[in-house]
Symmetry: C2
Subunit: 338 residues, 2 copies
DNA sequence: TTGTACGCGTTATCAT
DNA sequence: ATGATAACGCGTACAA
């Protein structure tokens, strides 16, 4: 399995390396006769193209990086699938890294991408990313698309979902069903996404002349167990609450547990809306009504945009905000108001 | 942001490129004085190492591939996280591809890896992979670890879970609770994993002098709805069945639906065990007793093994079979025999 | 420590 | 019209 080189193929086909190269990439004008000779030689010798050599020569590569903080989260799994599809369409290879919210790992990955001459990247930055990270990234001059987590830095392309609209839809739904005591559960304090979602929730309440209560807005970790814990505290203190908009489906699932534990029935005497539409949402009993953000679509759009940047598209930074939709299932009951 | 090369750094530090290279990689003996000079030059010029050039020269790379068929599946998400950790520990970059069970995409990915001089790969092969795929892969002489889906080809390293033991545990549990009419539900006909799980199930029955009935072993798609459909047919025909080992948790969830629909209560007059321990398992009511396989650990072990192969470990192919554990929850009731 | 040939494909320039 | 020549991208490692 020794490496067959272009030169060897050239010799075999009795042409120059230039010719072989041109045949390989369908460039230049090659007579059909020589083309055939070359193709035969290529095949006979079992040539394997050396992308590394080409990349070195071209000062680029066909490799892009994807940085997530939690690949375990089905939401990011979906997104990754979407991006992966798009990358494959353009013959780009995808590097994956999982920062697990560590700024250090994140930096290490980006450095690695630079060393490897990656031609672009898609980032969902770690929560506590220092501004310096973004500054140096800009200086690098390599296409980078931010996803999911809203950025205030307008110099980057961004693809994400409309958090505000999402919780507006959710809250609206609850209001229509007649609820007036609606809580907001989940998300971490310093998250911009969360701020936006709270915005949608509270604005909708106000629109209906209901005062949002800060005591009914509680934060939690992105886990079912913490969602359950937080909800228990909340409901114990404010049993008058009859509905909740949750920051995430995972949290909503935790809330469900708590409700049951406290003798209440989600979908019957309590209405619950999630956010994300992860697969579990449709499996749980009662199936969770939730805001669907088409994670796969975010991945695809990010891929499209990245590819265009790689192709040289130098329009000003874009913000692609995908509209979420409300998926009505069973967790809010079957109100007559549809 | 023009590319700074080793040569430029060398000139700046008034040394040779060889020296700079050695400083960069901590090789050879360099006087502390020159080292300092070089480091300063490196820093002053903002040098970025060109891994591509190094890879070309070394005829290797620091890049490995991971092929899955469904990154969306939380199980594979976990596994990927485990592998990713291990890769990062060794400064390897991870290429990810999602075959979606397409042999074509799979082949394309592996070809791509070859062109890019990847130094190894972890594969969860598509279901209908032609033998030729494996044959040519072997010839490539590049470390490849198979994961999760059992292989009959003993020439490959393999990391997976002990399907046989898993269903033995599950079946044992049911037997101890006093059940004797136990079905096996789910999995697709041509799956080796399934064969192994059926093996664990039937061997345990036989051990207890119970004849496994082929009519009580039914297959299904990997979805809740098909699990429900299949179960309904089965239970209608054989109402004497009081327990089931399911091929997957998803299927078990479907079976639960059916039971309820037929007026039976999982955990009370029917005992159900799943396999995988997906997150939903702990969420459903009653919470699902299931066989848990440490997905992340599979990823880690695969990473470890791959790394050792890359390092030149040429022991004969290994099979690392991780023992699953039974997670007892509520879906089998609370038998006195514990 | 250094000089330099080398890994391998690319492409601009030149030749027929 | 076709194809060849050779410099080039940049880090590595061996001989000196």
């Amino acid at each position: 399995m020794s490496t067959v080189t272009l030169a060897q193929v050239a010799k075999q086909a009795e042409v120059s390396t230039a010719t072989v190269s041109m045949v390989l990439r369908n460039r230049g004008r090659i007579s059909d006769a020589t083309r055939q000779r070359v193709l035969k030689a290529l095949d006979d010798l079992g040539y394997v193209y050396n992308q590394t050599a080409a990349n070195l020569r071209n000062r680029t590569s066909n490799q892009v990086g994807l940085l997530l903080h939690d690949i375990t989260n089905p939401f990011y799994g979906e997104m990754t699938a979407g991006l992966s599809q798009e990358m494959e369409r353009h013959d780009l290879l995808l590097f994956l890294a999982n920062s697990e919210e560590s700024g250090e790992r994140q930096q290490k990955f980006v450095d690695s991408l630079m060393r490897n001459n990656a031609c672009g990247m898609v980032l969902c930055a770690a929560r506590e990313t220092p501004p310096l990270f973004f500054e140096t990234l800009k200086r690098r001059n390599i296409p980078a698309i931010m996803v999911v987590r809203p950025m205030d830095d307008v110099d980057f392309d961004f693809v994400g979902t409309d958090n505000f609209l999402g919780t507006q839809l959710a809250t609206q739904h609850l209001l229509r069903l007649g609820h007036t005591h609606i809580a907001f559960i989940g998300g971490s304090e310093n998250s911009i996404s969360r701020a936006q979602r709270i915005g949608g929730y509270s604005s909708k309440l106000l629109e209906h002349r209901i005062q949002p209560k800060s005591e009914w807005v509680v934060s939690s970790l992105a886990s079912q167990s913490d969602g359950a814990r937080v909800a228990e505290e909340l409901f114990r203190q404010y049993p008058e609450i009859t509905a909740a908009v949750c920051y995430q489906d995972i949290v909503a699932l935790g809330v469900m547990q708590t409700l049951r534990k406290m003798g209440r029935q989600p979908g019957v005497d309590f209405a619950l809306v999630g956010f994300d539409d992860i697969t579990e949402a449709s499996l749980v009993q009662p199936a969770l009504t939730t805001v669907s953000v088409a994670a796969k679509e975010i991945g695809r759009k990010a891929g499209e945009l990245l590819f265009s940047r790689i192709q040289g598209n130098d329009e000003p930074p874009k913000r692609i905000i995908l509209p979420p939709t409300l998926v009505v299932r069973e967790s809010c009951g079957f109100g007559s108001l549809r």
